[in-house]
């Protein structure tokens, strides 16, 4: 989860695709998607559909951190700044 948070927080408010995240973090799809599902459910990550860039291709999901996700990433990157709600989320 830490790797994914780092990869998403480096991009700031930019959207990125799941496969790019896989390559960047080195996580397999079997690890990445459960994390994305859980983080989206917790409101840390937001997702939206992007139109395909080439004809005949399916639409792709793009992801980025929400404001809460960015704060969470910041808190986990700097343990001294961790507040109670983020500790609870980590647990």
């Amino acid at each position: 989860m830490q790797k994914l948070l780092e990869a998403l927080s480096v991009r700031g408010r930019q959207w990125c695709h799941g496969y790019d995240l896989m390559k960047e973090t080195g996580l397999s799809s079997g690890t990445l998607y459960p994390l994305l599902m859980r983080m989206t459910g917790q409101g840390l990550v937001e997702a939206e559909w992007r139109e395909p860039t080439q004809p005949g291709r399916p639409a792709r999901h793009a992801y980025r951190l929400t404001a809460a996700g960015a704060a969470f990433a910041q808190a986990t990157a700097d343990p001294n700044a961790t507040s109670l709600p983020f500790k609870a989320a980590l647990a």
Binding site: S28, S29, A59
Partner: protein
């Protein structure tokens, strides 16, 4: 070949994710094209299948699918195998010279009766085994009208076998045990049909699911 296998694995993963995760299934399928371009479709698809398998127990639809597979692979198919094994190993059915009982009895008429009973009993055991395999298949397809017809055929074969073994004064403990097992199996299938009807109220077919 790898691409075809990977697509099949992706389809399985999408099915396993169910309705509540449909959007995630589409998201994975969208990224699958990128994995194809990158030359790693199978690894990507296998990961998606793993995700689906992890997600299944947390959703009711997933639990329903897992329960059906457990019933089919854990009960119905082993029972079919057991029935084929009984067929192959039965002293009454497998002896070549008119049957085990026919050899033992001094009564010529009774020996003839035993000998002539072998083919129909053989057919009934085969029918029971095939009926169980058919039940497993249609259960996984959730085709409840065919589940009813396969169940009726299996019950008919089982009852006929019980009657036949009774008429011939054979040791019918094994047949009665199998009939009892069949009753348990049909009860489990009925429960599965009710569960399916509750999950998909508009998609029921056949009387079992009502």
């Amino acid at each position: 070949m790898t691409a075809a296998v990977a697509r099949a694995v992706m389809s399985l993963a999408a099915c396993g994710l169910g309705e509540s995760r449909r959007e995630w299934a589409f998201a994975m399928q969208g990224e699958f094209e990128a994995a194809m371009e990158d030359g790693r479709p199978l690894a990507f698809a296998a990961g998606c299948l793993l995700t689906a398998l992890r997600e299944m127990p947390s959703q009711e639809h997933g639990r329903f699918v897992l329960a059906n597979y457990a019933l089919a692979l854990g009960v119905l198919i082993p029972t079919a195998v057991l029935q084929f094994a009984c067929l192959a190993g039965s002293p009454f059915l497998s002896s070549g010279q008119g049957g085990f009982y026919a050899m033992l009895t001094p009564d010529r008429y009774l020996a003839d009766a035993y000998s002539s009973a072998i083919p129909p009993m053989l057919a009934l055991w085969l029918l029971l085994g095939m009926g169980h395999l058919r039940l497993a298949w249609v259960l996984l397809e959730r085709d409840w009208s065919r589940v009813i017809s396969a169940g009726a055929l299996t019950v008919a074969a089982s009852v006929t076998l019980v009657i036949l073994t009774g008429v011939l004064f054979l040791d019918d403990a094994g047949v009665v045990r199998q009939a009892g097992l069949l009753a348990v199996e049909l009860t489990a299938i009925y429960a599965s049909a009710r569960w399916h009807a509750r999950l998909f109220p508009g998609a029921t077919s056949g009387n079992l699911a009502r």
